[in-house]
Symmetry: C2
């Protein structure tokens, strides 16, 4: 028998995997987005804000998680017909928008976009189902000058938001070179799609598994520390050697790396084309002064996404942070992208070349926080306390004057009965100063100003004598309040 359920109160919590952002978390992210948009804009990119909801057919199946192409989005069916979903990135919507508006948009179309995206994935610690991306893409430019430009811009963005040169590197590779290596290894045909997929994912795990682990995955397979076995691509030693040579082609200089890659791709036409493109990108960047201290060619970069067709790139932060177990580790990737010449074709049937980058804003914010490079906590408002409940209009007039002078200020609007609560509130808000005016002060046209920053300092350090002098409290004439506070806040 079903028990009768009591009506209950709704739970005050967001859905699993979602979170809220408060005060400085919001304003810090906004400052970062503004700084990134400034650089994008300087490079000639235009803003685009596409709708958060797309038809499922327009989104297509390009989720990063190649193992679950049918999952990963939040989707629902419209009353009458179509399935729609929340966007999972900003690239699929761009392809739809460009295909829809290609007659009126300029070509090439440089656009930037920023905003939340949603992934219907299993939430975990620090892993949320809504997060920000901040993208820039050039649609309709076949030249790898567009890829080079985006890599240069990515470097500029990182330095603009506070990552010092030397603390990051932008790595570039080219899918065509990988395809050349696969061709040389005899993995080119349509019947080898599955094996190529395993190879791609194996290379992508180099960071985590090391060269030996990848080698095992290219061959028979790999047993991990827990004893679990992952099937390998089943390549012969010769085949695996080719792939390992590709991955390991990185050298001291770009020219040496390119030479090593030329060796790997041998007679492959697509491979040679890829190496030539990398060469061209390197020259373009060199001409603008972006040397290997900022941007390097790195054959180990493959990027997980299946839709890339040419240059791929990612930005990695190279400084060490301490992980949750206290061990030092590199911070890792904060941005990535590449050339995807087929996404618009899905809609139009015409080839439209495109390339672009996506910056993981939340990860970049975390990196700056880890380096102690975020702004100090934002200052709270000056709080005008309420001594006489009947004189609320006077207190409101005081804050009105302060705001007119550009000073952030408010009257305490809670229950004024307990004065201590008013000062506790000011503390909690991070207020720099509290204003106090009783009837005596009002009659004399003055207020008491409590310097809460100095007060907190004195509370920790001051002697009894210093306390008695009470240097953190000053009587100030109403007419002098604005200049007095300006000095205190400076």
């Amino acid at each position: 028998m079903a028990k009768q359920q009591k009506p209950r109160r709704p739970k005050a919590q967001p859905p699993k995997g979602f979170r809220d952002y408060f005060g400085a978390e919001v304003t810090r992210r906004k400052a970062m987005l503004d700084a990134i948009a400034h650089v994008y804009h300087l490079y000639g990119f235009e803003a685009l804000e596409s709708s958060a909801v797309e038809t499922v057919e327009a989104l297509g199946k390009f989720l990063p998680d190649v193992d679950r192409p049918n999952e990963g989005v939040f989707a629902w069916q419209e009353d009458d017909s179509d399935w729609v979903a929340l966007r999972y990135d900003l690239t699929a919507p761009l392809a739809r928008v460009y295909a829809e508006n290609r007659q009126t948009l300029p070509t090439p179309y440089r656009r930037y976009a920023m905003g939340p995206v949603w992934r219907n994935e299993k939430p975990g610690p620090g892993r949320f189902r809504q997060f920000y991306q901040c993208d820039a893409d050039t649609v309709g430019a076949a030249s790898v000058a567009a890829d080079a430009e985006i890599c240069a811009m990515l470097s500029d963005v990182l330095e603009t938001v506070g990552i010092a040169r030397g603390d990051y590197v932008v790595r570039i590779n080219n899918r065509k070179v990988l395809n050349g290596a696969l061709e040389v290894a005899g993995l080119a045909g349509d019947d080898k799609v599955a094996a190529r997929g395993i190879v791609l994912r194996a290379i992508d795990k180099l960071d985590r598994l090391g060269a030996d682990g990848v080698r095992a995955l290219l061959g028979a397979g790999r047993k991990d520390d827990s004893g679990d076995f992952t099937d390998g691509a089943g390549l012969s030693d010769d085949q695996a050697d080719t792939i390992m040579a590709f991955m390991g082609a990185g050298r001291e200089t770009g020219a040496e790396t390119l030479a090593a890659l030329r060796d790997v791709v041998g007679d492959s036409t697509v491979g040679a084309e890829g190496v030539a493109e990398l060469d061209q990108i390197a020259s373009l960047l060199d001409a603008q002064g972006y040397g290997p201290d900022r941007i390097i060619i790195d054959p180990s970069v493959v990027r997980g996404l299946g839709y890339y067709t040419g240059p791929v790139y990612e930005a990695e932060l190279t400084f060490e942070i301490t992980d949750e177990k206290g061990r030092p580790r590199q911070f890792g990737s904060v941005a990535g992208g590449g050339r995807y010449d087929d996404l618009v074709t899905r809609f139009t049937g015409q080839a439209v070349p495109a390339t672009g980058v996506s910056i993981g804003v939340d990860r970049l914010l975390a990196a700056l926080a880890a380096k102690g490079r975020v702004a100090d906590d934002i200052q709270g408002p000056v709080v005008v306390t309420v001594m006489d409940r009947d004189r609320m209009a006077d207190y409101q007039a005081i804050v009105a004057d302060l705001r007119k002078a550009g000073i952030r200020a408010e009257v305490y609007l809670g229950n004024p009965k307990n004065f201590g609560n008013q000062l506790k509130y000011a503390d909690k808000r991070g207020s720099p100063a509290a204003i106090i005016q009783g009837s005596d002060e009002a009659a004399r046209g003055v207020v008491q100003v409590k310097d809460l920053v100095l007060g907190a300092k004195l509370a920790e350090e001051a002697s009894v004598e210093e306390w008695k002098e009470n240097p953190s409290q000053s009587e100030v004439a109403i007419a002098d309040l604005v200049p007095f506070l300006r000095k205190l806040l400076a």
Copy 2:
């Protein structure tokens, strides 16, 4: 027999009722949001960005469309359990966030929030299912000083974004006064909920139907121009007179209006309380200099939402625009809000007073556009054209220098074969200038600068002689390019 369907290309369009925003549309809205946030911040409000997705139980059923309380949201069921939905406003999420974090948040909690909200409504012309709101609320302040503050802030916001004083008015009323009038009219009891609902909706239609139309809806009902009949509340003449007297209590001055309202509510305790609150709000605003040229007491304001419990307010733009049929009409409401003391109680069981305003940012932008008060179109980048495909690195170096000097610039990245297309592109981008450098110019260390703004002017006005002089094109030494362009762009 089912026909075999051909595989087809996805349609390149957003779901019905959704749209995209391009370039200046995005940056203008951003500029407005920044300006509003600045005022909110100055008043002591803190940013909050809650998740876009909420559990359906947390959202509750408070949609503005009281006739369809179960509809209007985009909702779906999570794999394992809960129904979740996209937020339909920013108030319901605030109530959830405050209930969840009430131990750690300061009280009163002043917060502002801005972002898209979603309504699952029938789309129509100019009516979209995703739009921006920009809210400020004070939670935990029982004093009507909090309501007065928000009305003052709303007035400041409108003037800050470019609505001149005299072109708007903030109207204030109080649900308690309405409840007093309903009590006097004998409509107070629990058994009169339906009648009260009809009365509320009738008053809300005053703008559209006029006093006679409302009166008909209070009584037997109303036949509209198309012959359709709407049932009325079935009030007696005396009852209807009381409601009409309430609505029509607006007088020349606030004091006279308050006196008229006192007459209407007679012996009703709640009514008298409401009038006293309005009186207090008026005094507080008066003390800060917000007179009836900005904020007035207007008994015809009721606001549709069922959850308001005290003061309600809205901002109306009073200038005329021309509607789609060429007739002049007032622009109307762009913001509204009020006191809702019960929303947090749903979660906690404890009474938590709250009040706040929501600004319809898209409507406000439309109003500014209608008044011709939006910034001119944003200037496009300087476009460096490609004369010699092989010298792409040189062109990239030129734009790199311009960007370093803070000048928005880009190299043309389309197919450079047809030079006319490059200039057409620059026109389409709204570029102020195009840079041209062939091998001859390169050898001499100069570029040609085409002033596209002047060029467009000449194309319309110039004589043959003026054309021949070609004053819109100048040869400039590379070393002088930055100062030359700075002057041209100024």
